[in-house]
Each structure stands twice: as structure tokens, then as C-alpha cells.
């Protein structure tokens, strides 16, 4: 049987508050398994324990109880982090470095040789669309550009697992779409992705499976199609038919005691409309 990419077993995290008797229970008996190549979305409102979960997986903080294994290995070993790339929430990185210098710094930390890192940096700058801004300092980057360079640094050492904490927070819709496309292309290479977000539409579009955290507890988990499907309803979208045919169809449904819940023209999403309009203007 294949080892899960990430296995979180019965993890509880309690933060003691100095000089007070009160303790903050950030996570309670959390169990998670993420299969290799899967995109897993961790959802939850602010303060639900998403970032704490990610930090525990990365070994940045220690669980009070429980354990985390990455491809079967204890996550407290440094070697495990060779397999993981991480994009923190709202990261600003070193503002005084250029895009290329930032990637070179992270390449060195990941143990890449100078020749390998040179070609990898050029490749990643191209992938995230920052080739033209490669020599500009990060202090001049927009929020979206910072997220893209952040994604590039997370991918620099070709990790098997990508951990993304709110990757599109405060990014405009076009930037958000670019990042979503980058996530989708990473999946094609077999990368396992753990994504934390409270942007539900985004999660719905890219994730295979989701877990919903609330007050430190995993209250729901499963495949998206299973969780979102309404069992007693069926949806189909047709084109090139006449209104008469649709009326006839409705009558046939009624004849077998069925009920048409909704009949309307399909609508595009506001995001799609925004992207279409802004792209047309750019051209």
C-alpha cells in the first residue's frame, strides 16, 4: 500500500498563555491523510486552526500531542523538508532583494548547485511570468507579483509536496486566476498540494478533496463531488433546442411525478466576466 504524502495522526495543539490560567486550544484530535498527487483544500474561518495545522506539518511548531509523517517519515527531521515547498500567508520576503536574488537565496538553502539553480531560476521566472521583473527589487512588486515569486521559491527545489497558505489572499481576480493555473499545472507534474484558504470558489475549482476546520476540529471531510452533490436532483445544460421542446420535456418530467426546480439561461460567474472584460481591454 502506498504511503500517504502527509499523515496527521491525532494532533492536538494547545498554546499556553503566560501569566494566565487560560489555555488556547488551537487543534483537537486532528486526523488527516493526503494521498500522493492529490490537491487537498483545508477550509475554515479565521482562527479555525488552518495555519497552525500547516505550521505543525512543516515542523515550525510542535504538536502538544499526536504525530505527523511525510511519506512515512517523521516530519521533525530536516531531510523531510527537502520534499516540501511552502508559500506562507502574506509573505513579503526580503524586500531589498530582486526576484532573481530571492530565488537564488532559496536555491542555495535548498542545496541546489549554482549551475542547476541558474537554469531553474530562469525556468521558474518564465513559469510565473516574472522574467521582465526579475531584476527589480521586491519592494517594487505588487501583491500578486509577490505571491508569484513566493510560489516560485516554494517550487525551486522541485518539491513533492506544495503547502500553500492562503495563496491568493489580497490578490486581484486576474492574479488569483494566474496562481490557480499555476497550482493546476503543478498537479500535472504529480505534486501533492495542501491548500489552505477561505476562498471557497477557488478551492472548489482546484481541489480534489477538502476538509473543513472549525474551532480546531475537523468537522467535515471528503471528495468535493460527494460533499456537494444533491442526491435527489439532476442537472443538465443543453444547447440548440427550441422552447417547444423544453416545454414538452417539462411535461414529460411532470408525467412521471418529477418536478423542474429551476429553468433558466446559464450564467457566467462574476469572475469570468471580470477576466473577459479586463483581458479585452488589455488587448
Amino acid at each position: 500500500m502506498t504511503e500517504p504524502a502527509i499523515r496527521v495522526s491525532d494532533v492536538t495543539k494547545i498554546f499556553p498563555t503566560p501569566f494566565r490560567r487560560r489555555r488556547i486550544v488551537a487543534l483537537q484530535h486532528l486526523n488527516l491523510e493526503i494521498a500522493p498527487g492529490e490537491i487537498y483544500g483545508l477550509l475554515g474561518p479565521n482562527g479555525s486552526g488552518k495555519s497552525t495545522t500547516l505550521k505543525i506539518i512543516l515542523g515550525l511548531i510542535q504538536p502538544t500531542r499526536g504525530s505527523v509523517r511525510v511519506f512515512g517519515r517523521d516530519n521533525s527531521t530536516v531531510a523531510v523538508r527537502r520534499d516540501i515547498g511552502f508559500l506562507p500567508e502574506n509573505a513579503y520576503f526580503h524586500k531589498f532583494l530582486t526576484g532573481t536574488e530571492t530565488l537564488r537565496f532559496h536555491a542555495r538553502l535548498s542545496g541546489l548547485g549554482s549551475r542547476e539553480s541558474k537554469s531553474r531560476i530562469a525556468e521558474l521566472l518564465e513559469t510565473v511570468g516574472l522574467t521582465r521583473a526579475a531584476d527589480a527589487r521586491l519592494s517594487t512588486y505588487s501583491k500578486g507579483m509577490l505571491q508569484r515569486i513566493g510560489l516560485a521559491q516554494a517550487l525551486i527545489h522541485r518539491p513533492k509536496i506544495l503547502v500553500l497558505d492562503e495563496p491568493t489572499a489580497a490578490v486581484d481576480p486576474a492574479g488569483s486566476r494566474d496562481i490557480q493555473n499555476l497550482i493546476a499545472s503543478s498537479k500535472k507534474t504529480g505534486t501533492t498540494i495542501l491548500l489552505s484558504s477561505h476562498l471557497l470558489t477557488q478551492v472548489q475549482e482546484v481541489c480534489d478533496r477538502i476538509g473543513i476546520l472549525h474551532r480546531g476540529k475537523l468537522i467535515r471531510e471528503g471528495r468535493l463531488e460527494d460533499l456537494l452533490a444533491i442526491e435527489n436532483q439532476t442537472e443538465f445544460i443543453v444547447e440548440n433546442t427550441t422552447p417547444e421542446f423544453l416545454d414538452q420535456l417539462e411535461r414529460q418530467i411532470a408525467s412521471v411525478n418529477g418536478r423542474v426546480v429551476l429553468r433558466r439561461k446559464p450564467q457566467t460567474s462574476l469572475e469570468q466576466l471580470f477576466l473577459k472584460v479586463t483581458e479585452t481591454r488589455d488587448e
Binding site: F15, K55, L58, L60, I61, Q62, V78, A79, R81, R82, I84, G85, F86, L87, P88, E89, N90, A91, Y92, F93, H94, K95, F96, L97, F105, H106, R108, L109, S110, G111, G150, Q153, A154, H157, V163
Partner: protein
């Protein structure tokens, strides 16, 4: 091992670039320059005294500048990395926490060394020029004097000018700044703000300079009991004796420092640095980010 050194080197290099681009760095250089240049306006008593006072001011300025730079620059390293969340992307890589701390320390040390070299070049140039002009003027004024008297005057000038003792004093100034940087890193490994770190270091700086006087007073003026001795030993253990690294007074007084004494002082500094770094790493390794 080599990859560990590579990671420490990468963090040190980035830390150096970060610090070199801080505005406070340039303000402090300006301050030091003002102090050094102010030595040009000393009332002349004798050539030898003028040179001695110039050296005193220059060494004092460098000493103060490097010490402040060591504290201020080091104090903001960890809080800034936490604020910008750089620390998460760095430690999520295969980087051990001791490598991170060592990288930070060596980055600061690089900055202090470069600063000292820049300041020393300026300081030595000013002293060398003044020494040259003092020698010329002395020779002109003492043309009628006996050769022994002239020889004595010139020896006095050379002793007050650029020589080995001055180089030793500068080396110890760097060691003192490195001790302060390691102590600052130690405090910031558990501090939650750089204000706290700087305030705590101001106390360390003060105690470090006064403890010799206090120790001499308690041990020689009073009949010190075991409690006082234990307290003084404890103070010495945690607060570095910073006054030991200040050689300007001895040099002004014309005393020469032996190589053995220099080695002992460098060894003392190294012990403090290693001690502070070990504590800093131990605390930081346990710290939840």
C-alpha cells in the same frame, strides 16, 4: 557539512546585504565621521598630546559606533524576519535552526568587520597625516636642540602615532562588538520586540562597562563575603566584561599590550561569543514560530 556551510553562507550574505542597506548604518557612519573630524579642532598643547587626543577620540568613536551598530543591527534581524514572514519560507527549507542563527551572526560580523576596516582606514590616515606633520614641525623647532632630545621627542611622537598597539586596540574593538552582537542575538532569540532587545542590551552595555569598577570596589575596599563573591561571579558569567576590551586608555598612557594579553582577551571574547550563541540556538530551537 559543505551544504550546511553553504546554507549558513547564504543566510549570512543575505543578512549582510540587508544590514548594509539600512539607513541607520549611514547615520552612524556620519556620526563617527563627525567625531573623527572633530579631533582636528583640538587645542594644541604639545604635538605628542595632540596625537594622543586624536587617537583617543578616533578609537572612542569607532568603539562607540561599532558597539551601537552591533546592538541596533542585530536586534532587528529576527523581528523583521518574523514580521515579513521570511522566517517561515526559510525554515520550511531544509535549514536547521542553528544554521539560521549562525548565518545571522556571521552576516552581522561581516558588516562589523567591513565597518571597522572602513573606519580604521580613515582613522589611520588621519593619525598618520598628523604624525607626519608633527614630526616635520618638531624637527624644524628642535634644530638647535641636542640630538638625544630630538630623538626622545620623535620616539614620543611615534609612540602616539600609528603602531602595533593601535592595531591591537582596533582588533579588540571588533571583538567587543562581536560579543555584543552575540549577546543581542541571544536576547532576541526569546524577545518579542526589538525595543525589548535594545533596552536589555543597553543594560548589558552599562553593566559590562561598570562591573570592573564595581568588582574592584567590592573586593578591595570591603571584606567581601562568599555571597558577594558569588554574586560578582554570576554577573561576570552573564555580563561580559566590556571594559577589558577598551585599550584606548592604556594606549594613551603609553602602555604596550603583549601578544599574550591580546590572545587572552581574544580568547575571553571567543568564550563569551560561543556561550551566547549556544544559549541563543538552544532557545531558538525550542521557540514556536
Amino acid at each position: 557539512m559543505s551544504s550546511s556551510l553553504g546554507r549558513i553562507g547564504a543566510i549570512a550574505r543575505t543578512t549582510f546585504i540587508e544590514l548594509a542597506r539600512l539607513r541607520v548604518f549611514y547615520v552612524l557612519i556620519l556620526f563617527a565621521l563627525v567625531l573623527i573630524i572633530s579631533s582636528s579642532f583640538i587645542a594644541r598643547i604639545s604635538f605628542q598630546q595632540e596625537l594622543q587626543v586624536t587617537r583617543d577620540i578616533a578609537l572612542g568613536a569607532i568603539n562607540f559606533f561599532l558597539s551601537m551598530l552591533a546592538i541596533v543591527a542585530t536586534a532587528q534581524l529576527l523581528p523583521r524576519d518574523l514580521e515579513d514572514r521570511v522566517i517561515y519560507s526559510v525554515l520550511a527549507k531544509p535549514v536547521r535552526r542553528f544554521e539560521y542563527m549562525m548565518g545571522k551572526f556571521f552576516g552581522v560580523l561581516g558588516l562589523l568587520t567591513i565597518s571597522l576596516i572602513a573606519m580604521s582606514v580613515l582613522c589611520l590616515a588621519v593619525i598618520h597625516l598628523r604624525e607626519g606633520s608633527a614630526v616635520r614641525e618638531t624637527m624644524q623647532q628642535m634644530t638647535q636642540s641636542p640630538p638625544e632630545e630630538l630623538e626622545r621627542a620623535l620616539t614620543g611622537l611615534h609612540q602616539a602615532g600609528v603602531n602595533q598597539d593601535l592595531a591591537f586596540a582596533l582588533l579588540l574593538t571588533l571583538m567587543k562588538a562581536a560579543v555584543l552582537a552575540s549577546a543581542t542575538l541571544c536576547i532576541s532569540s526569546f524577545a518579542t520586540s526589538n525595543i525589548f532587545t535594545i533596552s536589555a542590551m543597553a543594560m548589558v552595555y552599562l553593566v559590562g562597562h561598570l562591573e570592573t569598577i564595581a568588582r574592584d570596589y567590592w573586593l578591595h575596599q570591603h571584606s567581601a563575603g562568599w555571597l558577594i563573591r558569588a554574586f560578582l561571579a554570576l554577573v561576570l558569567l552573564f555580563f561580559p566584561d566590556l571594559q577589558a576590551f577598551n585599550l584606548s586608555d592604556q594606549i594613551i598612557a603609553g602602555a604596550s599590550l603583549s601578544s599574550l594579553a591580546l590572545t587572552k582577551l581574544l580568547g575571553l571574547g571567543a568564550v563569551y561569543i560561543v556561550g551566547y550563541l549556544v544559549i541563543a540556538i538552544a532557545i531558538f530551537t525550542q521557540r514556536e514560530l
